[in-house]
């Protein structure tokens, strides 16, 4: 259950060309947002192996955020479509593992949308604060 002191840890995989650049923009524009989502830069959202998401959850992350370029804007033409297909399938599998829907999220954020990074990270952090920690039941 969520407590007043619980701060979720979100692992954010941002693509180099769009969402990572957007988070840089958010920084230079001095947009303040929740510090709960340290960013791991990947060259493309299509690089995010579903194992990365599961590994993050297994090692104690409360949520995983994947950020990529808008459809049609991928630096590598099709990487974000691959990410989308993996994400849609992974969400079905995560449901069977009992992982709440809000914990794993995919967002298209272009290089100019620093405010969108701010909004998404704040929103997800607040959702996970309400949802409480992800503790994988072990028995």
């Amino acid at each position: 259950m969520a407590t007043a002191t619980f701060e979720p840890r979100i692992v954010a995989f941002f693509c180099n060309w769009c969402t990572y650049t957007a988070s840089d923009l958010a920084g230079t524009a001095r947009l303040a947002y929740e510090p709960n989502a340290p960013v791991i830069r990947v060259m493309c959202s299509g690089r995010v192996d579903p194992q990365f998401v599961l590994k993050a959850l297994e090692e104690g992350a409360d949520g995983v955020l994947i950020g990529g370029c808008h459809p049609g804007d991928c630096h590598y033409q099709e990487g974000n479509y691959k990410a989308l297909r993996r994400f849609r399938l992974l969400k079905r599998v995560l449901k069977d593992f009992g992982v709440d829907d809000e914990r794993v999220r995919l967002e298209w954020i272009s290089a100019s949308e620093g405010d969108r990074v701010q909004h998404v990270v704040n929103e997800m952090t607040n959702q996970l604060r309400r949802l409480g920690p992800w503790r994988q039941a072990r028995s």
């Binding site: 299509g46 192996d49 579903p50 194992q51 998401v53 599961l54 590994k55 959850l57 297994e58 459809p71 099709e78 479509y81 691959k82 989308l84 297909r85 993996r86 849609r88 399938l89 992974l90 079905r92 599998v93 069977d96 593992f97 009992g98 992982v99 994988q136 039941a137 072990r138 028995s139």
Partner: protein, 325 residues
Amino acid sequence: MAAKPKVAFYWCASCGGCEEAVVDLNETILTVVDAVDIVLWPVAMDFKKHDVEAMPDQSIAVAFINGAVRMSEQEEWVHLLRRKAQTVVAFGSCAHLGGIPGLANLNTRREVFDTCYADVPSLQNPAATRPQGTSVQDHLTLTLPEFFDTVKALDQVVGVDYYLPGCAPPADLIWGAIQAILAGTLPPKGAVLSPNKAACDVCPRKDSKPERLEIAEVKRVATHIADPDTCFLAQGFVCMGPATRGGCGSRCVEGNMPCRGCFGPMDEVSDQGAKFLSAFASVLAPKDEAGIDRLLDQVPDPTGTFYRFSLPTSLLRRRRIGVPV
């Protein structure tokens, strides 16, 4: 005469197929029996637990253990065998990865019991009897092994030296392992005793795989007959080959059935289901959510399909307890 090395075979949560696999050595088994002393084999010979307990520690050269660990009795047995044996081999998919019994990790003990002792349509259980840990009848106390919520692979309970993959392991790999043990030529501990190559890499249909795979419609063996010479993925069937270790002899493919993944992942992969999910999703044709979802609806049980043999050894291991199905 020098004492022959002692060998034990044991079964945990399994179907008996691994015992069949040993018998499938055919006349080779006579060579095995000549070379070793079988000190435990519940399916074929009458030894009891106290016989094993009476043996000195480390006196068994090799214990081949098949089946997953899902009950306290199995847990006791594998601890006992680990103590008595110098080398423990996880034999078959269930001991190696959790196997088919491991799919029960999508449910809890209570849900399994609800199905088995209450909900099955063919069941008659008017007294609503369920297995109890201890029950008293006529002043006698009866104790049953505990049934765990979570099924485990062998190495999640005791140390395992080698893995013989497969459901069931093919005779040539079993024989190769036994020869290596007798000759003392085993690889470093922890090895899976099958080549670290993807099933696709050694598939007889490899040449029919197109340069660029693209699946526009998903087919199922229940509703479509596969062409016997063409790559299953190229035809749109879910085939676990890309994420599965080879060395199986492609028995399923030769029988015109796609790979189901029983050999588990290659050494570099930590989650076979996720790895296959990744490969499969990346070759689907659609690029928009509606089109993707329409295609994914054609895979009725992705978790049970991709993790058919490996759920207990996947990164998340089970459905989170407390989350309803």
